[in-house]
């Protein structure tokens, strides 16, 4: 007879389950195939408006630097801080991503990235910008690597 016991505390491990990136992409594919491109946008807008509420408040109080810190934090969590480059001025935050940690994981594990994965960058950031009364522009995006260039800017109107 064998009896095995596994007794694990949360503090024993770092919370970094990269399979969740694939689960997120599968969700986008499902919504895209069932409800179309607008369904994906609607879903992500609803998510972003709800989840990032504290960020909207922070940006309202501290400005674009709060967004800069949020973006840098994401890549710290993903253990790839070297892939993100940001340039912050009074009116604009320019961001360059050399390669996306999630797409890097997909390429390594053979996950077939859906055509809607880009919306986690475009729609989510557009929604954040809109809620913060900022503009957002996705300047470049590579579906192969998730490399991206985008900017948040103070609206001129």
């Amino acid at each position: 007879m064998t009896k095995k016991v596994m007794d694990v505390r949360a503090s024993d491990n770092k919370y970094l389950h990269r399979d969740f990136h694939a689960s997120a992409d599968i969700g986008l594919r499902y919504i895209g195939e069932k409800y179309g491109d607008n369904g994906v946008k609607e879903y992500l807008q609803t998510f972003a408006r709800a989840y990032y509420k504290p960020l909207f408040t922070d940006v309202g109080e501290r400005g674009l630097v709060a967004l800069k810190e949020q973006i840098e934090k994401i890549y710290e969590i993903e253990e790839m801080p070297e892939v993100v480059h940001v340039n912050l001025t009074d009116d604009e935050l320019d961001v360059t991503i050399d390669r996306c940690p999630a797409v890097t994981f997909f390429n390594k594990t053979g996950h077939n990235t859906s055509k809607w994965y880009v919306e986690l960058t475009r729609t989510v950031n557009e929604t954040i910008a809109d809620q913060c009364d900022l503009g957002f522009e996705l300047l470049a995006y590579s579906e192969e690597t998730g490399a991206a260039r985008y900017r948040f800017f103070k609206r001129a109107f």
Binding site: M6, H17, A50
Partner: protein, 146 residues
């Protein structure tokens, strides 16, 4: 990109979105879809090869990466694995977010995702979800004849 640590609220909002578009049955069909198209590829080979030992290996990896707070016991004479999730990191995270509501049946996905696969190998499950509003649950996997 959202970080993988932001996935849980994204997931919870996905369930809400599907229910808004259709109903709870549609959410369950989504859980069946991810079970068949994603979880099966990872869990099934382990279970097919090693039975309950495969289940042990699968959850040891997944729950470690999710930094869960749990105790699992595997009794190979009884052919059962019991689990006490003292603090589920996913539900716990959702409960910590005071500015948004978790999907009302968020924890329902755990029952659907795995049982569809395990049933095929004569491994059945019982779940106690009475304390999921405190991010706590218990489960028992056991091998039995159909």
């Amino acid at each position: 990109m959202v970080s993988c640590t932001e996935f849980i609220p994204l997931y919870s909002e996905l369930f809400k979105y599907i229910e808004t578009k259709a109903d709870h049955d549609a959410v369950v069909r989504y859980w069946e879809y991810i079970s068949d198209t994603y979880v099966a590829d990872r869990l099934e080979p382990l279970v097919a090869e090693k039975g309950l030992d495969g289940c042990w290996d699968y959850w040891a990896k997944a729950l470690t990466e999710e930094a869960a707070d749990f105790v699992k016991e595997y009794d190979d004479e009884k052919q059962e694995i019991t689990s006490h999730m003292r603090h589920c990191p996913s539900k716990g995270l959702l409960l910590e977010l005071k500015h948004m509501e978790p999907y009302w049946d968020y924890c329902g996905h755990c029952a659907v995702l795995y049982s569809r696969i395990l049933d095929r190998y004569g491994i059945y499950s019982e779940r106690d979800h009475s304390k999921v509003d405190q991010a706590e649950c218990r489960s028992r996997l056991y091998k039995a004849e159909k």
